[in-house]
Every structure is written in structure tokens, then in C-alpha cells.
């Protein structure tokens, strides 16, 4: 009963999680793409830096990153909002994972595509931008959907640095009424399950829409070839 009454409040606090998500995902996407490009096409020094970045942010536990980003800057007399710290820590972390998704995808684009682009006079940058990346992003989408659903749920970790998101609200309920703890957690689980279903569903639709005619549904039965 209490849970049902509290549903609007639960959802309101979930918006904070979604706000963190909405900032961290593009940060992870942008930096992840750059890191992947650096690893594949960069000068050896750039490639080494990009690789180090990916290793660091995939190697450190999420909670440790959150604490480092929240308690670290004040040591140098820099003030940081919890939200900013959370978005940066989680965004950088996701960039580590996204970079490896994109690196694999870029490397899966046949080398002939780059050669053909250069042969008609396009610069390296033009060819990467107009030929390689559009194909790589298509290839990356299934794995990226995974990362999407993982970081969506990881946003619940940010309560550890004092952000008033849904887990922190859940805490106020089960501290006051310990017998409701399991129910509260199950309700949070339900919220994230629904969000994940909606999110991955939309991404799968995007995947189908971007599928290349003649290559779509390679895993789903015989393909139609127009002659």
C-alpha cells in the first residue's frame, strides 16, 4: 500500500537516475569513439594514451571512481557538485567500455573500404567519417545496446556520493519500515526492468531500421538477393 502510494515519488527520483544516464551516455559515446579512433588510426603515442585510458577506466571499480571524482577535486580546492562528479565518473568509465565496442567494430570494417575511399581522393579523415564510422556504428549497435542497459542500472550506484536518486529514496522507506525492504528493492528492480525493456526495444528497432538492404537479418534465415 505504502509502495503504491509512493509510486509517483519513486518515479520522480528515478528521473534523477535518468538525468545522470542522459549525461553519462553521450560522454561515454563521444570519448569512447575518440579513444577507439585513436587506438586504430592514431600515431603510436596517441594510440598508447588511448589504450591506457581504456585500461584505467575499465580496471577501476565503479564505486572507487565515484569516490575519486567526488572526494578528489576538493583536495585541490576544486568544488565539484555530486551530479557532475557522478556524470563524469560514470561517463569516463563507460567511455572505456564503449571505446572497445567501437574499436572492434572499426576493425571489422573491411580494409578495402578505406583503400577505396582514398583511391577516389578522399582524405583519411573524410574516409573515416563518411565510410568507416557509419558502417562501424551499425556493427557496434548490438554490443552497444548491452552497454546501454548496463550503465542504465549502474546509475543506482551514485547514491553513494549523496545524490538523491531512487535508491536513496528507497533507503528512507526501508530505514523507517524495515519489513518493507524486500518489497522496496523489488519495486526499484521493476522500474529498471521496465526502463531496460523500453530502451533496448527502441535500440533494436533502430538496428533494424539501419540494417543494410541485402545484409539485414543475416542471422534470420535465407537472405533475399534482388537480381
Amino acid at each position: 500500500m505504502i509502495i503504491i502510494q509512493a509510486t509517483p515519488t519513486f518515479l520522480q527520483y528515478t528521473l534523477i537516475n535518468l538525468a545522470v544516464f542522459a549525461v553519462l551516455l553521450p560522454i561515454g559515446f563521444a570519448i569512447g569513439t575518440l579513444v577507439a579512433l585513436g587506438q586504430v588510426y592514431g600515431h603510436p603515442v596517441i594510440a598508447a594514451l588511448a589504450t591506457a585510458w581504456a585500461w584505467f577506466f575499465r580496471g577501476v571499480p565503479a564505486l572507487v571512481l565515484l569516490f575519486l571524482f567526488y572526494y578528489g577535486p576538493p583536495v585541490f580546492n576544486i568544488n565539484i557538485e555530486p551530479f557532475t562528479a557522478a556524470a563524469l565518473a560514470m561517463g569516463f568509465r563507460s567511455s572505456g567500455y564503449q571505446s572497445q565496442i567501437f574499436r572492434g567494430a572499426i576493425e571489422s570494417v573491411p580494409a578495402g573500404q578505406m583503400v577505396a575511399g582514398r583511391a577516389i581522393g578522399m582524405s583519411r579523415l573524410q574516409t573515416v567519417w563518411s565510410i568507416v564510422l557509419p558502417q562501424a556504428f551499425r556493427l557496434a549497435l548490438p554490443a552497444w545496446t548491452n552497454e546501454f542497459s548496463a550503465v542504465l542500472k549502474d546509475t543506482t550506484l551514485v547514491y553513494a556520493i549523496g545524490i538523491n536518486e531512487v535508491m536513496r529514496f528507497a533507503r528512507t522507506i526501508y530505514v523507517a519500515r524495515p519489513e518493507l525492504a524486500i518489497l522496496t528493492f523489488l519495486f526499484v528492480a521493476l522500474i529498471f526492468w521496465v526502463l531496460t525493456v523500453i530502451g533496448t526495444g527502441l535500440l533494436q528497432r533502430l538496428e533494424r531500421r539501419l540494417a543494410l538492404p541485402g545484409l539485414e537479418g543475416r542471422m534470420r534465415g535465407p537472405r533475399a538477393v534482388a537480381k
Binding site: 578495402g112 573500404q113 577516389i120 581522393g121 573524410q126 558502417q135 538492404p213
Partner: protein
């Protein structure tokens, strides 16, 4: 003498393996020259060095009077005026036939969209693929893909076209449609350098044949001379062999 392409003493090694040991020749405007020779003789490497898709170790290449191998050469601009057709087509997989032909016009020649489309459609018509302009590469046969790849080169209005074994990846049935397009080009006065063992095409369209072996040009001359009366023993042996394999079939192909 109106040279489009001048190649002087081209050398290229991969690690310890010397793949080109001093290649020199001239390609004159409007001529079709075939490069033949056993695999591993350096034909494809030579072709890739001509527009510096591969960096030659030594030697010089001129496109008309511009030196391609000069340090300050505007490579992208020079490459745009050299059509290049690959053995495995290399059409851009995420673009329609039309966009495959358009993209060079838009990105390299900075042509407005409308004009690029018109231009690209003309090129597709020239190779008989205008009705497939909205198709993606994976929806097309190898022969159709190769014709679109030729259109992609043609649309840039190149000074010459390089072909790297354009029919080697194709079934015999599909070879004919690609060669027919190349026949048209040769007749239309396009300057072409073609790495190929298509004897029929050589007889019909080639003004000259370059025979390569062991990283060198062994012999070059008009097809009549090389086919009928080669100077070098090696040329005779090689041509006999490909005659035995491809000769009869090649003669049956439509002109």
C-alpha cells in the same frame, strides 16, 4: 607523344622481398595497355604504387606533367583524377549505387547535391546500371557491383583508369558484362592500364601489352606481336599457358 602517365624506375620491397625491381614505362593518351604476368610478379603492387596507395621505395611517377611522387604533391587531388577499379569491387557497403558514385563528387569535387546526382546517373547509365541506382551493394551481383565501381571512377572524369584484375573475382558468366563496359571505354578513348589475363579483351581492346615476371617488365609491345611472335621465351610460355586455359572461352565472349 602525349604521355598521361610516365613511370620511371619504380622500386618497392616488402621486408626482404623486392616486389618491383625498376619498372619504367609510358602510357599515352587514349591507349589501353594490359599488364600480364604470373601471380607474384608485382602487377598489383605496381598499380598501387602508381597512385601511392602503396608508397614506392624509389622511382618517380608523373600524371601528365605533375609529379605524383613529389613530396609536396596534392595526393588527394591527383588520386581523384585517376580512376581505380579493384578486384573485389570495394563498393561502400552502406551506400546505394547512386551514393557510391556521388560521394566522391560531393566530398572531393565539392559538387552540389543536384549536380552530383545528375553526373552520377550519367555514369551509371554509361555502365548500364541506371535502373539499379537505389540498390545497395549486397543486393547486386558481382558483375553489377563491378560496373558500379567503374561508374564511381568514371564520374570523377579521370585522366586515366587503373584496373586491378577487374574480373578475377567474377564467375565466367559475369565477366562478360564487365568486359563489355571496358570495351566501350576503350573505344570511347579512355586511357586505361589494366592488370588482367583476359586474352579476349587483350585482342579486342589492347593497344599494347606489358608482360611482367619476377618484379620486372620482361617484354612489351602490341598484342599481335606478343601473342604471335614474342621475343622472350618466358613470354611465349606464359601466353601459351593462359591461351590453353582462357583463350577459347575468351574468344567466345561478346565483343
Amino acid at each position: 607523344m602525349d604521355a598521361i602517365l610516365t613511370v620511371e624506375d619504380l622500386h618497392k620491397s616488402f621486408d626482404d622481398l623486392e616486389v618491383l625491381k625498376g619498372i619504367s614505362f609510358t602510357l599515352e593518351r587514349g591507349r589501353t595497355v594490359l599488364v600480364m604476368g604470373p601471380s607474384g610478379s608485382g602487377k598489383s603492387t605496381m598499380l598501387r604504387c602508381l597512385n601511392r596507395l602503396l608508397e614506392p621505395d624509389q622511382g618517380r611517377v608523373w600524371l601528365e606533367d605533375v609529379e605524383l611522387t613529389a613530396a609536396q604533391a596534392d595526393l588527394n587531388k591527383l588520386r581523384a583524377s585517376i580512376g581505380y577499379v579493384f578486384q573485389d569491387f570495394n563498393l561502400f557497403a552502406h551506400l546505394t549505387a547512386l551514393d557510391n558514385v556521388c560521394i566522391g563528387l560531393r566530398k572531393v569535387k565539392r559538387m552540389p547535391r543536384r549536380q552530383a546526382h545528375e553526373h552520377a546517373m550519367q555514369a551509371l547509365e554509361q555502365v548500364g546500371m541506371a535502373d539499379r541506382c537505389a540498390h545497395y551493394p549486397a543486393q547486386l551481383s558481382g558483375g553489377q557491383q563491378q560496373r558500379i565501381a567503374i561508374a564511381r571512377g568514371l564520374a570523377m572524369e579521370p585522366k586515366l583508369m587503373l584496373f586491378d584484375e577487374p574480373t578475377s573475382a567474377l564467375d565466367p558468366e559475369l565477366t562478360g558484362e564487365v568486359l563489355a563496359v571496358m570495351d566501350d571505354l576503350a573505344r570511347g578513348g579512355m586511357t586505361m592500364l589494366v592488370v588482367s589475363h583476359e586474352v579476349g579483351f587483350a585482342r579486342r581492346a589492347a593497344d599494347e601489352i606489358i608482360f611482367m615476371e619476377n618484379s620486372r617488365i620482361v617484354e612489351q609491345g602490341p598484342p599481335e606481336q606478343l601473342f604471335v611472335n614474342p621475343r622472350e621465351e618466358r613470354t611465349a610460355q606464359f601466353l601459351q599457358r593462359i591461351h590453353a586455359i582462357e583463350g577459347p572461352m575468351a574468344q567466345e565472349q561478346p565483343p
